[in-house]
């Protein structure tokens, strides 16, 4: 089943034409990655999908419903969750309060409680820091919190924006392993934006390569990883 179907979306920042017709599909249960250089439009794509940026033209279908132009808070309720670039945890709130805000749209108290336990299992470091202000966590821990917070909303599709950005290499490994685990164990569909193409293609099923606001290449992640053009441009071979 196609969960997310993005058709030829254009986005402008004032006079800058940031997205020049991006189309992509995300099948249920898969990890799809969007790779590309800085400024290629990866984050812009996610911000447009979650409604933070208005579309100039184009269409977005999510689980058979058109969500282009819907307000952000309604798109979240539709089940499309965006874990933003730079983590964006609430710095003065505790780790626990951050996680609870992730479940803001839910009302099933017992479900929220059991999901909290699940997050603690996924990220044991968070459990040790529950009553600490989120701003005092390390970058890697904040990233774990941001992912955990997103999961608390029980999304149908999780969009992760640069989870490896500014994080110690050892933690990057751990975070990517966890992303794969969330996909495998919870059957979570994931759209992953990454500059670290090597890591992203390793865990993804499918990939899209973005250059200056356009998709220039797409295919199975393993094929992309083997593609000499990708190797030269993004994998540093």
């Amino acid at each position: 089943m196609t969960m997310l179907d993005v058709q030829d979306i254009h986005v402008h920042y004032g006079a800058i034409h940031a997205l020049k017709g991006v189309s992509l599909k995300v099948e249920a249960g898969t990890i799809v990655t969007l790779i590309g250089a800085n400024g290629a439009g990866k984050s812009t794509t996610l911000r447009a999908l979650s409604g933070l940026l208005p579309l100039s033209t184009g269409a977005i279908d999510f689980i058979g419903q058109s969500i282009g132009g819907r307000p952000v808070h309604k798109i979240v309720r539709d089940g499309l969750c965006h874990c933003p670039e730079g983590r964006k945890v609430f710095p003065q709130l505790t780790v626990k309060a951050n996680l609870e805000l992730g479940a803001y749209i839910r009302h099933d108290k017992t479900g929220i409680k059991s999901d909290l336990e699940q997050i603690y299992q996924l990220f044991p470091r968070l459990k040790e820091r529950l009553s600490q202000a989120a701003g005092t966590l390390s970058g890697g821990e904040q990233q774990m919190l941001a992912i955990g917070r997103s999961l608390m909303g029980r999304p149908r599709l999780l969009m992760l924006d640069e989870p490896s950005l500014g994080i110690a290499p050892l933690l990057v490994q751990e975070i990517f392993r966890t992303i794969k685990k969330i996909n495998a164990e919870q059957k979570m569909t994931i759209l992953l934006v990454e500059q670290n193409a090597h890591m992203a293609l390793k865990i993804a099923d499918h990939g899209y390569v973005l250059e200056t606001g356009k998709v220039v290449l797409s295919g199975k992640a393993s094929d992309l990883a083997a593609d000499p053009r990708i190797k030269a441009a993004y994998l540093g071979h």
Partner: protein, 294 residues
């Protein structure tokens, strides 16, 4: 000593009113980084609605009039935000700040047209009088006791809303990172409206408190509005406990200056304090060193 205590009590009574107004300034600033210069006018509107309810609908209990005033001031603020501030939200901050000054002048003159420019009084609500604490040699007026007590109740209620309810959690999230809050599924427009409503309803309550002690006129919101603004800055703009402490301090300092120096300097001291705070510790007593957001 008893003189000092008396000034302190008078200061606390006025200061608790400044604190309630300052809370509205600081809440709105915390959430959209706007100094809402029309905030004092919400207090004036609350006072007039209170005067109208008590004078025209005789027999209305004070508690009912207080609630009506709070609702009226709150709804007016929601309307002001919707009509004058929201359309400017994506513009540079100076636009909406200018709009706030315009709304302030507009409401003052609207008050003059609707209620007339002459002062109005509340009907006597309390048995006039005071409680004497003989051993200390100080007097507490009934109205002061009432204002102090209710102010504490309102501040406690606000604390409960902000820290123990879902909308309160949404307010705190929105004030720290509005985009992240939207990504949690929070309707931040609603949260902003709610913040204006709560802040202005506190100012509306102060309007009634003022009306009980002084007379009511269209420009009455200016002085307490400015004093409360300074209180919010002194406490650290964006900080709720800061607004409370700042309000009480300004009230006390004003009364000490009026008592020991001269009441001529009562208004001036507020602004001397503002200049001192801004030059020595711009983040205020409890403000954080956050360059953009609080």
């Amino acid at each position: 000593m008893s003189e000092f205590l008396q000034f302190l009590i008078n200061g606390l009574a006025v200061g608790s009113m400044y604190a309630l107004i300052a809370l509205g300034y600081t809440m709105v600033y915390g959430i959209i980084q706007l100094i809402n210069f029309a905030h004092g006018e919400f207090m004036m509107m609350g006072a007039f609605v209170g005067a109208f309810t008590l004078n025209r609908l005789q027999g209305t209990p004070l508690a009912v009039a207080l609630v009506i005033s709070m609702l009226a001031a709150g709804l007016l603020a929601v309307l002001v935000e919707l009509v004058a501030y929201r359309p400017l939200r994506r513009q540079p901050k100076i636009f909406v700040l200018t709009a706030a000054i315009a709304v302030s002048v507009l409401l003052q003159n609207l008050g003059r047209i609707v209620f007339g420019s002459s002062a109005v009084s509340f009907p006597a609500q309390f048995p006039q009088g005071s409680i004497g604490l003989e051993s200390l040699g100080v007097w507490v007026e009934y109205s002061q006791l009432f204002v102090l007590g209710l102010s504490l109740v309102l501040m406690a209620a606000l604390w409960l809303i902000v820290h123990k309810t879902k909308i309160g959690a949404a307010m705190r999230a929105t004030s720290q990172d509005i985009d992240a809050a939207r990504l949690m599924g929070i309707n931040t427009n609603l949260v902003i409206s709610f913040t204006f409503f709560i802040g202005a309803s506190l100012a509306g309550a102060v309007g009634v408190f003022y009306g009980m002690q002084y007379s009511v006129d269209p420009l009455m919101g200016v002085q307490p509005g400015l004093a409360a603004f300074v209180a919010a800055v002194l406490g650290g703009i964006g900080s709720l406990p800061g607004a409370m402490i700042g309000g009480l301090l300004i009230g006390i300092i004003e009364n000490l200056v009026a008592g020991y120096l001269s009441s001529t300097y009562q208004g001036a001291i507020t602004f001397v304090l503002l200049i001192l705070v801004l030059s020595i510790k711009p983040t205020g007593l409890l403000g954080r060193m956050a360059p953009v957001k609080v």
